[in-house]
Every structure is written in structure tokens, then in C-alpha cells.
Amino acid sequence: MAHLRLMSEKKSEPASGASHVNDLGHVKEATPSLIQVFEPHKASLPPVGAYMREFWSRKRFSLELARFADKAEYLESNLGKVWLVLNPLLLAFVYFLLVTVLRGGSDKAHGFTTLAHILIGLFTFYFAQNVISDGAQSITSGGRLILNQAFPRTLLPLSSAIRSFWQYIPTIPVYIVVVVIGKFFIPKADIHIFSWALLWIPYVTFCLALTAFGMALIFATMNVYFRDTSKLLSYTTRIWLYASPVLWLPEMLHGWHRAILYVNPLGPALSATAEIWIRGHQPTLAQIIGLAVWAVIAMIFGGYFFISRERDFAVRI
């Protein structure tokens, strides 16, 4: 097919600052200098370098999207963000009752240590769960933005992850307050809350966030193709909780059963969290390696799975 030119058949020189006369007789300077080229993706992937630069330059959008989503959710709730802390606190209390009743009761000190373990475990697990489940819905619920604007779609699950992190932060002081008060009344409780091991918390949290974000990318993509993925996810995360060292202690597993701690992507993070916040020990070498390995696997696999299917989002939403 012949190349169509709409205004004129005259060939133009590829030089900047050119001018032409329009239908209204005005001489216009064609000054735009932003050249964008859209070509087919190679191996289903956009140019990775350009994609990452665009991702980085739009990070403010993710932050603001998280802030506005937060604002919208709690705008008309009287208790508002208090539920963020109340919900896991009440759940921890329910699970604590369940676990101590099933065990046939225990002494006060041991009971309080169990409560502290469940509390920090649940707070940490819910952080990962929120990153995954909110991220899974971020693409299908961002329909209009996706249909109207070109931007790296990974910014949407990133926004969910940022929001989940903000919601996680206040739960840490709550845990500290509960443990400090508990230790005051039950000094024999075997919890070493303040130790040098706390320096490992940023590493553990960072690796956990990457792992959960990578998984969010996988589920967000699946949710575009199969809209019941997010429903299924609510059951999956419940089973995931029971399979994680939250309601039980890692020491309860022996021999090959300990493999469960590392096969579970959240296992190393949850074990390390208990190690730091309960026993005051730094994470074991296996936990440190496990954290990094799962973060890398989740980011590589999740990133590829998501970005290689980003093009489809605009036609499947």
C-alpha cells in the first residue's frame, strides 16, 4: 500500500525546527523534540532498559496512587485505620485461644511467648498477603487507566505493595507495646525483643516484600485471564497461613519435614522474623540464603510472566 500523507505530498527533510503553512494560513514551527518509537516486542518483552527507566521515572505515580487508594478506603470510616491494627490483634487473640486450648493450656510465661509468636507472625504474614491479594486485583481494577495511558503496568501492583507496607509499619510498634507490657507482668516470658538482631529486620522485610511483589505480579496476570483467580487466592492464602510457621513453631518440625520451611516462599521470612523478634537471635544462614533465593526467583519469574503479557492487558480488560 502506498504511503499516505494527509496534508501534503511534498517530502520533508528530517531536520528539527521545520515550519509549514496550515489550512488556516498560519506558519507553524514544528518544535516537539520527544521522539517515541513503538515497535513489536522481541520474545514478548519490551526493551528492558527503556522499560526500567520509565518505571523509575514514574515511581511518584505509584506512591500517589497508593496514597489516594488509602485515602479513598478510609474516607468514610469512623474507626478508619485503627482497623488495620485491631483486625490482626483480634485475630491473634482468637488464634492464641485456639492454639492454647488445643494444646490443653500452658503456663503463663509459655502462653505469652506463644501469643507474641502468633502476633508477629500474623502481622508479617498479613503484610505479604496484602501485597499479593491487593496486587492481584490491581490490573483488573485499573481498567480505565490501562485503557487510556501508556505506562509500565508493574506500577499498579507496586502501588498496592507500597500501600501494604504503609499498613504494616504501624503494627510493629503495636507488637512492641504488647510485648513490653506483657514482659512487665510476666517477667519469665522467654522473649528477647531488643537485641542487635533487629538490624536484620530491613533485610528480612526487603526480601519478603520482593517475594510477595513477585507473586503479586504472577497472580495479577492470572487474574486478567481468569477472573476467579482473586477469589481462589483468598482460600489459597488461608491454607498458606496454616502451612507457615505462624500458628506453629519452626522447632516443631524435624528431619525432612523442615523442608516445608524452605519450600514455602514465605517460610524463611516468617522463621527469621520469629528468630529475631522472639529469641533475639540473628537469622540462620539457611534463612538468610532462603530469603534471598525466594526474592530472586519470585522477581525473575513474576517479572517475566507479567511484563511478557502486559500487551494483552489492554485488550483483555
Binding site: M7, S8, P32, L65, F226, L232
Partner: protein, 268 residues
């Protein structure tokens, strides 16, 4: 995706160059697009039913700066797909699109609008999504509210309290406030009453005076006729005819009335 213009053979007077563009994609034609359905099908040895859509086929087109191009055609002709491709939302399957300038789009009404948030918050969100900084968009918020004819105080009210007309007017006002080099509008001019339509037309003419480029997809042929300098008629993913907007809309109207393609275009 940005490249150095020295490396690209792009005449400076062109806003958009489309070269041998083809866009295909697959869609799931199952009524139930669920994991459960996919697993049930897999258990019976069946695959999920997919259909390949050839939305745009080997298209070539140059759009100079300062032009207003109308795109007409029946549903499924590939108009919206082409617009998304020019905006970089849907990358080509084959060929290349080169765009010279900042793009602003209004391809889906109510862009970025969260009904629980105020108009001001939504405008900021929409602006950030299109690549502006928060400060840039905040400086334009009152101008957008004025242009959209929002009653006093409505800019700080939740968007769920807006009428559908207000909703559409704000979306349009955000798109034109971005001072784009290239403005892409898909059925966006149906929002608002006659007075707002007139205001929109004036604003678009101002943009054209500033050598900015506008591409409009519309089923409202009178709008295309009134506003566009040129038009293309798309049919089954190809350009069936191009030329003066009045001439093209007449041809297309004739096709709509008669139901058959003009004899010289029957090969399509």
C-alpha cells in the same frame, strides 16, 4: 520508549508516522473466563477457545503537525486499536509507529477516576498517570475546574456526586490541559451539552493554531466534518479511503445508508 531523533528517519513536520503497521491479538471467546472453566476443559482434554483478531493490517500513514485527523468506520474497523497503538498502549505486532511530541489521550471516559475521591484528587491522579509532576498538575487544577464548568466547590467534592456530563467534561478538560503536542480523542466529544461542545471545539482549534495535532475517532460524522481537516475511513483494519474530511464523511454516510462499499473499493 524514547530515542534520539538523529537516529530516526522522521521528517520534522510529522507528528506521527505509521509504517506497515499490523496489530493482532488473541481473545478468549469462552463465555466463562475462569480458572475453574479452564481446569474443567483441561480435564476433558479441551483447550480454552481463543480467536485471533487482526485489528489493523499493514497500514501506512503520516500525520503532520497541526492537522486534525478524523477516523471514521464501523464498529470493529480497528479505529480504537489504532489509537491505542499510537498512544503506546498496545504495541504493534508488525511495523513501526514513530511519534514526535508529547501525547495526551482520552480513550476511555473517566480516566483514573475513583468515585470516592474529590475531583481535585482525581485530576492529580490522571495527570500523574500521563507523566506530569504533581506540582505541574496541581497548578492546572483550578483551570481544569473552570474549563469543565464545575459549579463552585464541586472540585473538592467526591466524584460520585458528579453528573455524567460533569464527569465527561472533567475528563476532557484534563486531557486538553496537559498542553499535548498530540491529542488523541476516542468518542470523547459526546460529553457535555451544546455549549460545552462549542467550548471544546474552540479549545481544539486553539491547539491546532499552536501546531498541535489532534486525532479524533467519532461516530458523530458532523463532528468530524466540522472539526477535522482530513479524515480516513477504516474498514476491517485497513484504510479504505482518505482525504478531505467532508468528502470522506459523505462517502462513509453513503455506505451507511446503502450498506455496500463504493464500487471502486469493493476489494477490501
Amino acid at each position: 520508549m524514547k530515542k534520539n531523533r538523529m537516529l530516526i528517519d522522521m521528517p520534522a513536520d510529522l507528528a506521527v508516522r505509521i509504517e506497515d503497521l499490523s496489530i493482532t491479538y488473541k481473545i478468549n471467546v469462552d463465555t466463562k473466563k475462569t480458572l475453574k472453566n479452564a481446569i474443567m476443559r483441561a480435564s476433558k482434554g479441551e483447550k480454552v477457545r481463543m480467536r485471533t483478531v487482526e485489528a489493523v493490517k499493514h497500514m501506512n500513514l503520516d500525520i503532520p503537525h497541526g492537522s486534525v485527523l478524523g477516523i471514521v468506520g464501523a464498529n470493529g474497523a480497528g479505529k480504537s486499536t489504532l489509537m491505542r497503538s499510537i498512544a503506546g498502549i498496545l504495541p504493534p505486532t508488525e511495523g513501526r509507529i514513530t511519534v514526535n511530541g508529547k501525547i495526551s489521550t482520552l480513550l476511555a471516559l473517566g480516566v483514573g477516576f475513583n468515585p470516592a475521591l474529590s475531583g481535585r484528587d482525581n485530576i492529580i491522579l490522571g495527570g500523574l498517570a500521563s507523566g506530569l509532576t504533581k506540582e505541574e498538575i496541581a497548578a492546572k487544577t483550578d483551570e481544569i475546574a473552570r474549563f469543565a464548568d464545575l459549579p463552585d466547590g464541586f472540585i473538592d467534592m467526591p466524584v460520585r456526586t458528579y453528573s455524567s456530563g460533569m464527569y465527561g467534561r472533567v475528563a476532557f478538560a484534563v486531557a486538553v490541559a496537559m498542553t499535548p503536542d498530540i491529542l488523541l480523542l476516542d468518542e470523547a466529544l459526546s460529553a457535555g451539552d451544546a455549549a460545552f461542545k462549542e467550548k471544546s471545539f474552540l479549545r481544539m482549534r486553539e491547539l491546532v493554531q499552536e501546531a498541535r495535532t489532534i486525532v479524533i475517532v467519532s461516530h458523530a460524522l458532523q463532528t468530524v466534518k466540522d472539526l477535522c481537516t482530513h479524515a480516513i475511513w477504516m474498514h476491517k483494519g485497513q484504510i479504505l479511503a482518505k482525504g478531505d474530511a467532508g468528502e470522506i464523511t459523505e462517502k462513509y454516510l453513503e455506505f451507511l445508508n446503502v450498506g455496500t462499499l463504493p464500487s471502486n473499493l469493493e476489494d477490501f
